[in-house]
């Protein structure tokens, strides 16, 4: 009744091709942005920032990155953890070498460095496909982790091999280090998440995105109609790694503050982000956020309910939590193989017809 196209007239092409053609959608989007930027920073506390919002936003960026590669361009990658590590170590090396340059610039530069590394490891994708490519990117994962463990230059020869983020400010406000305030931490991640989601959205509906999707749907056909597979695949690796690199940089600099490559960026991270992509929905921007939200918030939520609310022993709760999350993943994949994004799409379809579906 309320959610419909009727009466929403478009008089220009640009109006017609905007991201949210429905007025209600548009208002919803601006409302979410307004709440995220104008309300949340004033009410957020340390726990919510550190344990919920910051990891959610960072994982959302990483998921967006992998979604571009896997969801839009159809190239399976298990190297996400390794690429996040590149972003983290690049930020660390840059900010300890050039402490006077803004950390935001370093984070973006770290994204570009990761993009280069990602394109390098993306080269085999021109020859190998599918599961074989997954194995090749797996090699990237292990190689990068090994590299950051093995070469002391990357961690400035610290005795423990850990990298620790020094304090850095943006506009006079601390954004990294132990004393950073909850809103600052949250806002930095939010700005990056919104900007990168906007970038991803507009890339994927432009020519580049169409090339990616053509390659994904059938690479030979795409080549015949004039899509250059070298360019399409390498740009997909590059853009994807750029986003993942920024996620890794934020993960280290803003979220953890200290990291150890094997633990923070191990193979588990690659799988976690891949699961977020699959659960959220392949080839969907909204799905990236939904998938990240699902896998970041649900464990924290369950833990708080089971241990905090119901007073269960912590080990039992931890095991039950694993079982519930696992069962829900299976349930979602059976009920809706196209992820949460498809559920959301179906809900919207139904809403358009509501309350008279016939």
């Amino acid at each position: 009744m309320f959610y419909r196209e009727a009466g929403d007239f478009k008089t220009t092409y640009s109006d017609d091709s905007q991201t949210f053609p429905l007025q209600l959608d548009r208002m919803g989007y601006y409302a979410v942005l307004a709440v995220a930027f104008l309300v949340v920073p004033f009410v957020i506390d340390d726990y919510w920032a550190t344990s919920v919002m910051v990891p959610f936003l960072i994982y959302a960026i990483a998921t967006l990155g992998l979604n571009i590669l896997t969801g839009y361009a159809g190239q399976v990658s298990l190297g996400t953890g390794g690429f996040m590590a590149v972003g983290a170590y690049a930020t660390y090396k840059l900010t300890t070498s050039f402490p006077d340059i803004s950390i935001l610039i370093h984070i973006v530069l770290a994204g570009f460095i990761t993009a280069l590394v990602g394109m390098l490891f993306g080269l085999p994708s021109l020859r190998i496909k599918g599961f074989y490519l997954a194995v090749a990117t797996l090699a990237a994962q292990f190689f990068l982790v090994w590299l950051f463990n093995k070469v002391p230059w990357f961690y400035n020869y610290s005795a423990s091999g850990q990298i620790t983020m020094p304090e850095r400010t943006v506009l006079g406000q601390l954004v990294t280090g132990p004393s950073v305030s909850a809103p600052a931490k949250y806002l930095v991640c939010l700005v990056f998440a919104v900007a990168l989601a906007w970038l991803a959205r507009n890339l994927t509906r432009g020519m580049l995105g169409r090339q990616w999707m053509a390659i994904r749907d059938m690479d030979i056909a795409a080549e015949i109609i004039g899509v250059n597979p070298l360019k399409a695949k390498l740009t997909a690796f590059g853009v994807s790694s750029f986003l993942i690199g920024i996620a890794g940089a934020l993960f280290f600099a803003v979220y953890l503050g200290a990291a150890e490559v094997g633990e923070a960026f191990g193979i588990n991270k690659s799988f976690l982000v891949l699961f977020m992509v699959i659960i959220g929905g392949l080839g969907s921007i909204f799905g990236s956020f939904a998938g990240a939200a699902f896998l970041v918030l649900l464990p924290v939520f369950l833990k708080n309910v089971l241990v905090g609310g119901m007073g269960w022993p912590t080990d039992l709760a931890a095991h039950v939590e694993l079982m519930i999350v696992g069962a829900l993943i299976v349930f979602f994949l059976i009920v809706e193989p196209h992820g949460l994004a498809q559920l959301w799409r179906l809900t919207k379809e139904k809403l358009r017809l509501w309350p008279f579906p016939h």
Binding site: V52, G161, P166, P178, G257, A318
Partner: protein, 428 residues
């Protein structure tokens, strides 16, 4: 979706609202799941049981009950940080996260939030320097002490000369395992032994290639810095290649019953460092039995009472308890805050008589801390596994580490941290 989860989680957090302010809160970051659970569980039980005993027998410390709300970290840094943020409310006094990785995360955070961080036998070694690390304590011993005492023991075995010997360090490839490398390199230069570094990627169930390397290069000694399943795998592999077990020395975290039992008779003679006694032959355990185990209040039913890692959990809780008591005396009131607890730690003096009073004579070394020294004397002793008897026996007395080598290293590393974090050394 997000919103709904968020609001539900908010409700859940509110339901779990903090304990009454009057109690002493010692948030307990434990791990009973994951690859480190076999050891983590025992430690957590010991830690809980000691405070349960104080609450049951003495009504707490100075009349204040001690609460140890548990939070599961699974030895994972992200979960550890989540636990820290969830529990760091005003009442929390001290953290003992039992993981070097989490400790590295918490050192700057604890300083900013003014919470005491107590990392007995693990964490950042240079935190011993209280001039730089105001809020961190790592008494009674640290990783470098351990490495030094292990080398001392080798010197004793070899009649004072390890020149030209080859020593392999099999280590957990993480901040924890890398800690002793610098020290062993320095000690190698001093004593003329050759150090061979053999990293094992965590969690470390698979170590075939590492032990093949050891078999090929035939080191005279193996020092093991492992944790969780890595210990079991390493000791099993060592037994498989018939490495002489009395030439294999584990750090204290590689010396619990669960580590050696899977290798059966093959593990006989394996040595490990320790800084606490093992077994239940102490008067303390009579009280524990009466007030905690028989009363059905033991953590997980008391199935690990007296094991090596359980005893270490008890010891950690004991030192925290003594620091709280000292802090209460200094503050002149039973209610203390984290800053007063830090003062309590800096004035901590646990003598042998005090240990006997607590029912644990000869269980640990005397500990005296100060503003400068947050790490104590750093002594350790060796225990050896007897596979027939299925028990550890102490084979040496407490040995002092080589301060001549360690002190400059600690000075150097803490100075580097002070510079990195912009800390001005304190203590006058």
């Amino acid at each position: 979706m997000t919103l709904r989860f968020a609001s539900l989680a908010a409700a859940a957090v509110l339901m779990a609202a903090g304990p009454a302010m009057a109690d002493l809160v010692v948030p307990h970051l434990s791990y009973r799941t994951g690859p480190y659970a076999p050891n983590g569980t025992q430690y957590a039980d010991g830690f809980n049981d000691y405070f349960t005993l104080l609450n049951e027998r003495d009504g707490g410390i100075g009349g204040q009950k001690i609460l140890t709300p548990e939070c599961e970290t699974a030895y994972n840094t992200e979960k550890g940080v989540e636990c820290y943020e969830a529990t760091k409310g005003d009442a929390a006094l001290i953290y003992n996260p039992m993981s070097t990785g989490i400790t590295y995360q918490l050192i700057p955070k604890a300083g900013a939030d003014q919470k005491v961080l107590y990392t007995p036998g693990y964490g950042r070694t240079s935190a011993k320097n209280g001039k730089v690390f105001e809020w961190v304590f790592n008494a009674p011993a640290n990783y470098w002490d351990g490495a030094s005492v292990a080398v001392k023991h080798m010197l004793e075995q070899e009649g004072g000369d390890v020149n030209g010997k080859k020593i392999a360090l099999v280590y957990h490839n993480s901040a924890y395992g890398k800690e002793p490398i610098r020290t062993l390199q320095e000690l190698g230069e001093k004593h003329g032994f050759e150090l061979m570094e053999v990293p094992v990627d965590p969690p470390g169930q698979e170590q075939k290639s590492q032990w093949l390397q050891i078999r090929r290069e035939k080191p005279d000694y193996v020092i093991l810095y492992g944790w969780g399943v890595m210990n079991q795998a390493a000791i099993q592999e060592a037994a498989n290649i018939r490495f002489p077990m009395d030439h294999m020395i584990g750090i204290w975290w590689s010396g619990s019953e669960v580590d050696v039992q899977p290798a059966g008779a093959g593990a006989d003679g394996y040595k490990s460092l320790t800084f606490n006694g093992v077994g239940t032959d102490y008067p303390f355990y009579d009280d524990l039995k009466t007030h905690v185990i028989d009363a059905g209040k033991a953590s997980q039913g008391g199935q690990y009472v007296g094991s090596a890692v359980y005893s270490r959990g008890v010891y950690a809780a004991l030192i925290i308890g003594e620091a709280i008591r000292t802090a209460q005396e200094l503050a002149g009131s039973p209610e203390i805050d984290a800053a007063q607890l830090r003062d309590g730690f800096e004035a901590l003096n646990i003598t042998e008589e005090r240990m006997a009073e607590l029912g644990l004579p000869d269980f640990g070394q005397p500990i005296q801390l100060s503003c400068e020294n947050h790490g104590g004397a750093g002594m350790a002793r060796l225990q050896q596994w007897d596979a027939d008897e299925q028990k550890w026996s102490l084979i040496t007395d407490f040995m002092e580490p080589d301060a001549e080598v360690l002190a400059p290293l600690i000075e150097e590393d803490s100075a580097a941290y002070a510079q990195e974090a912009g800390i001005t050394p304190r203590c006058g």
